[in-house]
């Protein structure tokens, strides 16, 4: 037994050099070696492409090292909040628009470290909208843009005798419904018209198309209770009741992208990020992006990722320089091209290796998207209520409450935050 204890202690001693390095910085030498902590989340292999893209920058700045930590998206915001409130914010972090919105006051205004007037005009307005904090200062730079949109199983439509590319140029949701029913009838293995991702963001795409909104016009209060939203909710429930939309997504945890890949649904309201996966996985039918049907109007919802730094981080100047480099035309172009994302830069001229037409469709959707959609989504109070709103929509879909109660509940909850 004594031998055992001694060997355990020896093991501990041997292991301790491995264990104890708490990230000490080397002593300052000529070019002040700097290690930037970068927080990142992945959907596929974005982190690999990111590092690849920035290799030349790191080569030009040999004193800069990157410590890249990948955190699961589900815990990303919590991790950031913990690090920031604990006094250890990362130097740089990849931010989804929702997370940036929640942390907008903690993000670092970059004007202290660079000339922002040069930067601003380089990016699309709808994406830059997310990068301003309440004082109007820029705290982030857009790196990728995403657009919500519709992907369709072209083979299935063909089997029903419909040229979906033509039809989609002018269709409304009513036209869509008609077409979907024909497609389902013509394809024995196909069961549903359209799954919608189980997120308030995707739902809002259709909501905006029906003329609805979340907030009142000066963003002082929640106004989920409005004719457009109610019309949309009723339509949404009707589609579920008719089984044109599978119940298992919003009322289960089925993944719409999986359903689409399996060929059981005719369309999918997802977004530009699905292109990459579908390209890899779908081999049994022809697919592509088409214009979304119009409700009262056409709309998408802009989204994307930005790169930000935080107040109190260890190396703000190097962080900001790094951010600017990653977001510049050369780097973000290369990154967006290889991750198959849309660019958020005005001057982008990305030639995608494949699926160029699909990306054109998505870009066009963004072009017709009104600015207020982005403005709503960048409101930090809205982000606190969307989880609850999603739950109330489900209650309505399940038939547990009626549509008036649903919207009123959401507005009441909003009142807690829009004080």
């Amino acid at each position: 037994m004594r031998k055992l204890i001694i060997s355990l202690l020896v093991l501990c001693l041997i292991a301790s050099p491995l264990l104890a390095q708490g990230g000490t910085e080397k002593a300052a030498s000529e070019a002040e070696p700097v290690t930037l902590t970068v927080l990142w989340f992945n959907d596929g292999n974005e982190s690999d492409i990111f590092m690849e893209t920035m290799q030349d920058y790191l080569a030009e700045h040999p004193n800069i090292k990157i410590d890249l930590q990948i955190v699961a998206f589900a815990d990303y915001q919590q991790k950031l909040k913990m690090l920031i409130s604990g006094g250890n914010p990362p130097d740089v972090a990849r931010m989804a628009t929702a997370d940036l919105t929640a942390l907008i006051n903690q993000a670092l205004p970059i004007e202290d470290y660079t000339d922002t007037s040069v930067l601003e005009p380089q990016f699309m307005e709808s994406m830059m909208a997310y990068a301003y904090n309440p004082e109007g200062k820029i705290v982030a730079l857009p790196t990728e843009a995403t657009a919500n949109g519709m992907l369709v199983n072209k083979t299935a439509f063909k089997n029903a005798g419909i040229d979906v590319d033509e039809l989609s140029k002018t269709w409304s949701w009513t036209d869509w419904e008609e077409a979907a029913k024909k497609v389902i009838a013509a394809n024995p293995n196909l069961k549903y018209g359209l799954p919608v991702d189980f997120t308030p963001h995707r739902f809002s795409t259709i909501m905006y198309q029906f003329g609805g909104h979340f907030l009142n016009s000066d963003q002082t209060a929640m106004e989920f209770n409005n004719p457009g939203t109610i019309k949309c909710l009723k339509w949404f429930k009707d589609m579920h009741d008719q089984n044109l939309i599978p119940k298992s997504v919003w009322m289960g945890s089925e993944n719409p992208a999986e359903l689409f890949q399996a060929g059981i649904v005719a369309c999918h309201i997802g977004g530009s990020w699905n292109v990459n996966t579908y390209k890899k996985n779908i081999t049994s039918f022809e697919w592509g992006a088409v214009q979304m049907p119009a409700g009262d109007m056409r709309s998408s919802v802009p989204g994307g990722k930005l790169i930000a730094s935080f107040k109190g981080c260890a190396h703000p100047q190097e962080a900001v320089d790094f951010m600017i480099a990653f977001a510049d035309k050369a780097h973000s172009g290369k990154y967006d091209k290889q991750t198959l994302n849309l660019s958020s830069r005005v001057d982008s001229d990305i030639q995608y290796d494949s699926n160029a037409s699909d990306f054109t469709v998505f870009t066009n959707e963004l072009k017709v998207t009104p600015a207020y959609t982005a403005n709503e989504w960048k409101n930090p109070n809205l982000s606190k209520v969307t989880g609850y709103a999603k739950e109330q929509i489900v209650q309505y879909l399940m038939g547990n409450i009626d549509v008036e109660t649903c919207v009123r509940n959401v507005d009441a909850k909003g009142a807690d935050f829009f004080k």
């Binding site: 409130s85 903690q106 599978p246 298992s248 289960g252 945890s253 089925e254 982000s383 609850y388």
Partner: protein, 295 residues
């Protein structure tokens, strides 16, 4: 049992043995726990200064509809899970403790392996099986001409699915504890009972159950505590859905604390959760003691 007199040097011996464990625990769990729970009396966003509000959070909790739904769900889930876990693991133990089954050790291992997996793995594996369109069971049923079962898309079924998966995960773990308990019961007692003409069922009732009581207590307490804290498994499988059907308190705590940015309120919820678990535990200790008093 040793009892050292106060004032002697030896008095400190037991404290010294306890010290490393208690010290670490106090520093890294108890103190943060007290700090965390103390927040329940404040209104506290993660980046804002805490503002003392007394019992306001608890009053608000009283009227919080969503909270009570999760409260009820947690109770139902925990109650049913513990009962099923005790029953199933006991059944397995009875089958696998008397060497009447071939390959006994191998089977024991098979049932134990699920508990070794991380909850993310379990959640993913079961989604592949119970998924509505993409799940293996429904696919099989439909190919035979039947309808799929709404495992994860109907409220009641979803609750049952989650309970079933929890039992699948831990039955083997508690089975092992029961096996040891069973093996500690002297075989002579059963022999004597048989000689007296007792039926197997009678032996089970009068010998096995009473002598197994202490083991049953350990199992049910550990199972209860773990059931009330269930989080990862549920979120991976159902995300709390459909609707609120499988949303439990811990999930709500997480959402309120981080998404809604109300740490104080979330902390108040945790206190209610602790009280619930505490009540169940005390009840089980009492029931167990009363049971053994009756011998």
């Amino acid at each position: 049992m040793t009892k050292f007199k106060k004032g002697t040097r030896q008095f400190w011996i037991p404290y010294l043995f306890l010290l490393p464990n208690v010290l670490i625990f106090a520093l890294f769990v108890i103190i943060p726990a007290i700090q965390g729970l103390a927040m329940s009396f404040t209104d506290h966003g993660i980046f804002t200064e805490p503002k003392f509000v007394g019992f306001a959070n608890f009053v608000e909790l009283f009227h919080d509809e969503v909270f009570w739904i999760t409260f009820k769900n947690t109770l139902v889930y925990s109650f049913l899970t513990v009962i099923m876990l005790v029953a199933v693991s006991l059944l397995l133990a009875l089958l696998l403790s008397k060497s009447t089954v071939k390959f006994e050790k191998g089977f024991r291992a098979a049932f134990y392996i699920p508990s070794l997996l991380s909850m993310i793995t379990v959640g993913i594996a079961w989604r592949f099986i119970l998924g509505d369109e993409m799940g293996i069971i429904n696919y099989f049923l439909r190919s035979l001409g039947g309808n799929g079962v709404p495992w994860l898309t109907d409220g009641t079924y979803a609750m049952l699915s989650v309970i079933m998966v929890t039992v699948w995960t831990y039955a083997g773990y508690y089975m092992l504890i029961f096996i040891s308990g069973l093996q500690a019961i002297p075989g002579e007692l059963y022999e004597a009972a048989k000689v007296d003409g007792a039926s197997p069922w009678y032996s089970f009732r009068k010998i096995t159950i009473p002598l197994l009581a202490p083991t049953t207590l350990v199992v049910s307490i550990l199972a209860t505590i773990n059931a009330f804290k269930a989080y990862e498994l549920i979120t991976t499988m159902t995300k709390g859905g459909p609707g609120y059907a499988t949303k439990f308190i811990v999930q709500q705590v997480y959402q309120v604390a981080f998404a809604e940015d109300r740490m104080g309120y979330a902390s108040a919820m945790s206190i209610i959760l602790m009280l619930m678990i505490g009540a169940f535990t005390v009840f089980q200790f009492a029931a167990n003691r009363r049971g053994s008093d009756n011998e």
